[in-house]
C-alpha cells in the first residue's frame, strides 16, 4: 500500500486537468474541516483556562503547559521546580515504544527477508498472511493477547502442564506485556517496508560478496543492510510513532503502574475530573514530537533519494 503512494507522480497524465480542483474539493473540505481545523482548535484550547466540570473558559492562559513542566507546590505559591510526573510518563512512552520497535525489528526483519526471498509467485500470499491480523479489530487483538497471557490463561496452563514452570509467570500488568501488545498491534508496519526494500535489492551483490569469500553474516551486515536501510528506518518509524501514542495496549495490558501518554490524555477528557487544556497541551506535545520525527525522516529519505539518483 505504502509503495503505491510513494511511487505517485511517475505515472501522472493530465486527462482530467481542468476538473482537477473540483475533484479535489471534497477531500480538501472534509479533511480541512474535520482534521486540520480540529488540530488548530486543539492548539487554541491548550492555551485556555480549564473549566472545572470539563471543557474550557475562554481566557488565555499558559497554565496547561506550566502544569506539565513545573511543580509550584500544592497552592501554587512555591518557587517553580521541574515537575517530573508527566515527563516521566512521556519518557516511559518513548522507552516502551522503542522497546516494541526493537522487538518488531528483531522478529520483523528476518520475516520480511524470508518472504522477499520466496519464489515471486507465493510472495503476495505470505504478505497477506502477515497482514490479516492487522485488519482484525485492535481492541479484540489486545483483549485476545490479555486472555492468552493472564495468570490462569492458556499460555501459563500450557507451560505448567509441560512441567516447564511450577507457578504462573506474571506477564499481564508488566512493561513486557505492553511491549508485546504494541508489537502485536503494529508488526505489519515493520515487515512491509523492509519486505519492499529487500524485494528491490539486487542479489548479485550478495553473490559478488560470496565470490570474494565474505562470510554470509558479514554480507548481511555490510552489503544487504546498508542497501535496504531506508526500508528498515521506515519500518521503525511506522511502529514507533503509533506505539508512542497508543492507548489500548498500555490500558488493557499495562495496568495503572505502566501509564503511558495515551492514557494520560484520555483521562483529561473523561467525565468531570478532566482538564481539557492540559489534555490538549499533552496532545500538542505528543504531536510536535511525532512531527519532528517524521520531518527528520522525510529529510533523510529525500537525501538518500538524491544520493541514489
Amino acid at each position: 500500500m505504502a509503495a503505491g503512494a510513494a511511487s505517485g507522480g511517475s505515472a501522472t497524465t493530465d486527462t482530467y486537468k481542468e476538473a482537477r480542483n473540483w475533484l479535489l474539493l471534497p477531500s480538501w473540505a472534509v479533511l480541512g474541516i474535520f482534521v486540520l481545523a480540529p488540530v488548530c482548535m486543539m492548539l487554541v484550547y491548550s492555551f485556555l483556562t480549564k473549566e472545572f466540570r470539563g471543557g474550557v473558559i475562554w481566557e488565555p492562559s499558559l497554565a496547561a503547559y506550566d502544569q506539565f513542566f513545573f511543580d509550584r507546590g500544592l497552592f501554587g505559591d512555591e518557587p517553580a521546580k521541574i515537575e517530573w510526573t508527566y515527563i516521566t510518563i512521556f519518557w516511559r512512552s518513548i522507552w516502551q515504544a522503542g522497546a516494541a520497535t526493537l522487538l518488531s525489528l528483531v522478529i520483523g526483519f528476518p520475516t520480511a527477508y524470508f518472504i522477499a526471498t520466496r519464489p515471486e509467485r507465493v510472495r503476495p500470499f505470505w504478505v497477506f498472511l502477515i497482514t490479516i491480523p492487522y485488519w482484525v479489530n485492535l481492541l479484540i487483538r489486545t483483549v485476545s493477547m490479555k486472555f492468552l497471557l493472564r495468570d490462569q490463561g492458556p499460555l501459563n496452563d500450557f507451560l505448567i502442564g509441560t512441567g516447564l514452570i511450577d507457578s504462573p509467570i506474571h506477564i499481564v500488568n508488566t512493561n513486557f506485556a505492553v511491549q508485546l501488545g504494541l508489537f502485536y498491534s503494529y508488526l505489519p508496519f515493520m515487515v512491509l517496508p523492509i519486505y519492499a526494500a529487500v524485494e528491490r535489492y539486487n542479489f548479485s551483490l550478495s553473490e559478488a560478496a560470496a565470490d570474494l569469500y565474505a562470510p554470509k553474516w558479514v554480507t548481511l551486515r555490510r552489503i544487504v543492510l546498508p542497501a535496504i536501510k531506508p526500508g528498515v528506518i521506515a519500518g521503525c518509524i511506522l511502529v514507533f510513532v503509533p506505539s508512542m501514542g497508543s492507548f489500548l495496549a498500555p490500558d488493557l495490558l499495562g495496568g495503572a503502574k505502566n501509564f503511558m501518554i495515551g492514557s494520560l490524555i484520555e483521562e483529561q477528557f473523561k467525565g468531570n475530573a478532566g482538564n481539557w487544556p492540559f489534555g490538549a497541551a499533552a496532545s500538542m506535545i505528543l504531536l510536535t514530537m511525532v512531527l519532528i520525527i517524521l520531518l527528520i525522516f522525510a529529510r533523510q529519505q529525500s537525501k538518500a533519494e538524491n544520493a541514489g539518483s
Binding site: A5, T12, T13, Y184, F269
Partner: protein, 269 residues
C-alpha cells in the same frame, strides 16, 4: 538479472523466526476462537463444546446493548465507507490523472494527515472541535469523524490501481468522440472497479474497528461494537465477549480476504 544461487540468498533460522512470527500473530486469535465455544461460564476451565455464548450474544441479558451497538457500527461503517470511497476516488483521479500542479504535495499531505497524526491526537482534536462549535456529540459526530479518517485508507488502493491503468483506454474513447465525463464514467470507472471495491472494504473495516476516535466523539449513551466491548472488558473478560469477538474477527478476515482477491484480479487485459 541473473538468478542468484538460493544458498547465498537464504539465511538459516529466518524461516523459524517467520514461523514464530506467524504463531505469535495467530495464536491469540485462534485461542479466543476456541474458548468462545467453551460450555463453561468461567473463562478458565474447559467444559466441552457449546454454542451457548453465541446464543447469549443474541438473547442474553446484554443482547439489547449489543444489537444497538452492532446496528450503529454497521450503518456508520457502510455510510462512512461509501462517502470516503467516493471522495477518495475523485481525489485519486485528480492526483493521478490531473497532471503536475502546485498543490499536489499539499493535497497528498492533507490526504495522508489522518495516517500521520497519532490517533489519540485526532480523537482529542475532533472532540474539541465539536465542542467548540457547540455540536452535540452522538451518532452524527461519529459518522463525520469516520468519513474523514477513512479517506486515506480508501485512497491508497484506489490511487495505486489508477497508476496501474494506462490512460490509452480513455484516450481511445475520446478519440472516438466520448466526452471526458463519458471517458471517466464508462471507461475509467469500470477499469477501476477492483481498486474501488478494495478501497471500500478497507475503509469499511477501519470504520468498523475504530475504538479510540469513536470513544472520544460518541457522547453519552451512543455505543458502537468496539466501545461496547471495551466497556464490558473493563469489568473482566467474559465468555460472551469472546463469542462476539470471534464473530467480529471472522467478519474482518472474510472482508480482507475478499479485498485481497478482488484487488489481485486484473480486468485491464
Amino acid at each position: 538479472m541473473a538468478t542468484v544461487n538460493n544458498d547465498i540468498k537464504t539465511y538459516k533460522g529466518f524461516r523459524a523466526i517467520t514461523l514464530l512470527c506467524l504463531l505469535v500473530l495467530y495464536a491469540p486469535l485462534v485461542i479466543v476462537t476456541i474458548y468462545s465455544f467453551n460450555a463453561s461460564a468461567s473463562i478458565t476451565n474447559w467444559e466441552g463444546l457449546s454454542f451457548r455464548w453465541y446464543a447469549d450474544v443474541f438473547t442474553g441479558p446484554e443482547s439489547d446493548k449489543f444489537k444497538v451497538a452492532a446496528f450503529n457500527s454497521f450503518t456508520i461503517a457502510i455510510m462512512a465507507a461509501t462517502a470516503s470511497t467516493t471522495i477518495a476516488t475523485l481525489a485519486a483521479t485528480a492526483m493521478v490523472r490531473g497532471g503536475k500542479f502546485k498543490l499536489r504535495t499539499v493535497s497528498f499531505g492533507l490526504i495522508s494527515l489522518p495516517l500521520m497524526v497519532p490517533e489519540i491526537v485526532t480523537a482529542v482534536a475532533t472532540l474539541i472541535f465539536f465542542n467548540s462549535i457547540g455540536f452535540t456529540r452522538g451518532y452524527l459526530t461519529i459518522l463525520v469523524a469516520h468519513i474523514a479518517f477513512c479517506i486515506p485508507f480508501a485512497y491508497l488502493p484506489i490511487s495505486a490501481r489508477m497508476q496501474g491503468i494506462e490512460d490509452s483506454f480513455e484516450q481511445a474513447a475520446m478519440d472516438l468522440y466520448a466526452t471526458k465525463r463519458q471517458a471517466f464514467t464508462k471507461v475509467l470507472m469500470p477499469l477501476m472497479a477492483p481498486g474501488i471495491i478494495s478501497g471500500f472494504l478497507l475503509a469499511f473495516i477501519v470504520s468498523l474497528d475504530d475504538f479510540i476516535i469513536t470513544n472520544f466523539v460518541k457522547g453519552a449513551g451512543v455505543e458502537t461494537l468496539p466501545t461496547a466491548i471495551f466497556g464490558s472488558v473493563k469489568q473482566g473478560i467474559k465468555p460472551n465477549i469472546m463469542a462476539i469477538s470471534t464473530m467480529l474477527l471472522s467478519f474482518s478476515i472474510v472482508m480482507v480476504t475478499i479485498s485481497y482477491f478482488v484487488s489481485k484480479s486484473d480486468n485491464t487485459k
